[in-house]
Symmetry: C2
Subunit: 337 residues, 2 copies
Amino acid sequence: MDVATRTIVAEKPPSLDGLLKLAGPDMAAVDALIRTHMDSPVPVIPALADHLIAGSAKRLRPLLTVAAARLAGARDDACLKLAAAVEFIHTATLLHDDVVDSSELRRGRVAAHLIWGAPSSVLVGDFLFARAFELMVGAGSMSALEILARASRVIAEGEVLQLTRAHDLDLDQEVYLEIIKAKTAELFAAAAEAGAVSAGAPPERCRGLRKYGQDLGLAFQLVDDALDYSGASETLGKNPGDDFREGKATLPLLLTMARAGAGERDFWVRTIDRREQTDADFERTRDLMRQTGALESTLELAAGYATSAKAALADFGASPWRPALEDLADFAVARTA
Amino acid sequence: MDVATRTIVAEKPPSLDGLLKLAGPDMAAVDALIRTHMDSPVPVIPALADHLIAGSAKRLRPLLTVAAARLAGARDDACLKLAAAVEFIHTATLLHDDVVDSSELRRGRVAAHLIWGAPSSVLVGDFLFARAFELMVGAGSMSALEILARASRVIAEGEVLQLTRAHDLDLDQEVYLEIIKAKTAELFAAAAEAGAVSAGAPPERCRGLRKYGQDLGLAFQLVDDALDYSGASETLGKNPGDDFREGKATLPLLLTMARAGAGERDFWVRTIDRREQTDADFERTRDLMRQTGALESTLELAAGYATSAKAALADFGASPWRPALEDLADFAVARTA
């Protein structure tokens, strides 16, 4: 069953509507905090930051902080500043990633470094990262600060690991999972855990929400990696095939290489290792993916993590936030963009 | 009186020896913290970080944190983690600056991005920045965290301001001072203030040490900008003339341009604005600097800030740290590298 038919046969396609409605007032406040805190007397800073931040429709990570805090019983608004901080950390890493990868499109817009130059992207990333910590200080929880400082460090480690290993044809699938755990799932985990911690939730609840965030993040990244081969640029907000062109060994590609056998080795050495590609190479790779079922396997793994994410919420009692977060896990896997 | 003769005629040349001896045990502990915290399972991270950190002989900024804390009466070791954090923030900004400016030399070594590539420099900078905040969390002072988070943001703003205005022939001297206040003096100010705050010093003492750090930082940067025209590469640890080649409008150049008159305008438009330079242009600029006394004026301004820095320590009682910090202010101006 491929990605396109999967959402059609589902009785009721998973949606974010319930969660977005519940979190509406909180997220409006988070948005206002984001607006205020990206301002600066240096004009290029808000201009560049806005280019990226306005392109983000879902604000998935801050949403996670707010939802985790509310599910954990938060009655005050400390989680809102943490949520804004989480979005700033995420935006800072996107700005730096796009410089590192020389990406051309991000969130459906021309990448910032192509408009304002790589130096401005690096420095505005630094600005947003520092602002994130100012917001966290404002939230007043040293534990939440610790969680998000650690996450920021782990993300950087994951990015460097990816940079040094990404073009490795023989990359171990374990190392690939380690990379996405660090560069993507860690911020999801920290976003949820920081929300729970700021709500004063007991340790086992904080751990539960951390686990939910981590598994959601893994599912999310696996689907992202699959969509880079199966998606359309209009819905993706970035060019499909970016990973392939950059020679990034993501799971769909690793599975395809492993299953296509030694006969294709020369093809991978040329296209991934040496990155000498013709227009037809991406299509040939998609054909091999179809033949080997690599995308299905990637999505099955993602679905497993989504199931595990939902299971991590088992101990939480009746609250409208719980089914909303369960829907989010299903949505992460079912989405086509 | 030029830079070279000034230090010779002084009765006793200012030196860091007293301060370095006093701070010796503390700085050895800071060094150990730096070593431990730059470690990572991803090998390129400690390798790249060590390349830059090992090149730093003086560790001026963490020294400032330790000295401020001890002068303010610190009896515990909370200031050591803050000092290590300050060095990490500084190193992170250096890594990003060298990418932004495409510099070739740093601290007497080939710039990291020329060895490991710009992407690694950007990401290891992010790693060190995050580690700095982990260290601050470990120090346990929310006030110190607030000071250093704010400083990190102000530094980024200063860097962006410099990036967008640095090649401006008509850059106002006020804006130049605003830039160096943000990109350099702010970290000196925050390093000293955070040390004082972590020692539990009363607000007026914290303000005094912040003022000392800020004025010291301004003096330090002004002398740096002068040395870029008067220093020798062997002692500087970077190439003299870097600012000129990058077309950076620092104070010595701004004063020279203002004093050399309209007749030289075409020369500046070509060399600074359009950055079309021949080998002889740097020498011609040095000649104009000598004729206009621009270096002397820059150093006089620096000396004024050093005096003001020392005055900010007036309320502190008898402590060996006070004359040591006074020497540091004199040293910042008298140094030839």
